[in-house]
Symmetry: C2
């Protein structure tokens, strides 16, 4: 690794601002969701994907695939959500190894109650603070960075 190219002042400042935005924005959204709906952000994501599924039921592996979560992480998280009554597990008739995750009535109620105020918070904290050109820029930046990371990093197919 010859001659590290350190970050210049502009880069340093941008990088720190980006990291800090992640921190404070994530924390603010998590707090809002938690306090109004008793859901964490991961809970919310799982419920969203479950709502999207036909008949509000989905195989664990399929859920892991669309969420891009490790199966282990998903399994742990589903266990916790099941304990709280947000989702249920059902056996799969056609594959003895498989399991379906189903949205319970409580889970449905939770996501219905949480979604509007969560979107509102995203708008208040993020979209209301930036211009529509900013939104375009950010999408472009994110797309390029994602492509770069996924091209360079291992596991290109996940």
């Amino acid at each position: 690794m010859a001659e590290t190219r350190w970050l210049d002042d502009h880069e340093q400042r941008a990088w720190r601002a980006y990291l800090r935005m992640n921190t404070v924005l994530g924390a603010a959204l998590a707090r809002q969701l938690q306090s109004e709906s008793m859901l964490s952000m991961p809970d919310f994501e799982v419920l969203v994907h479950l709502t999207d599924a036909d008949d509000a039921r989905i195989r664990v592996s399929e859920l892991a695939r669309v969420m891009r979560w490790e199966k282990s992480r998903l399994s742990h998280h589903l266990s916790r959500m099941e304990k709280r009554g947000l989702v249920g597990r059902e056996e799969c008739a056609s594959d003895g190894r498989g399991a379906f995750i189903v949205l319970t009535d409580d889970g449905r109620a939770a996501i219905d109650a949480a979604a509007p105020s969560h979107v509102d918070a995203v708008r208040r904290y993020f979209f209301d603070a930036v211009t529509s050109d900013d939104v375009k820029s950010l999408a472009a930046i994110a797309d390029r960075v994602i492509a770069r990371v996924e091209a360079t990093d291992t596991c290109p197919s996940v």
Copy 2:
């Protein structure tokens, strides 16, 4: 909460891209740091701030303040780092409650070894993927979002 203003397609796409960039970029940088230096990102942050401090020693509360970490989080993390020999704890003569955190030789060696390749990874994964205008845009976006969140959210002084 009257009439939720849902995200339109552009916003939806930008928001998802932003979230995904956070995920993959954070994961890639964490993996790189871990595999080359046996340090986590939080480890790295702590060591950076410790290196910045006069005499590589700093009071716990001061460290928490500059890092904007909860004292509890910092205390837990320092315990783990101390167990690995990266930092040490010393009593404070002038305040019986206080404690100094000191950078050990191992800690110094770890950060010295980690920093160049970490910066390199930030460059490869992020700065090489975007233009210098993008960097300006992102800094501006982040500054505005941070200001917005901190103005709206509780705990303005943290």
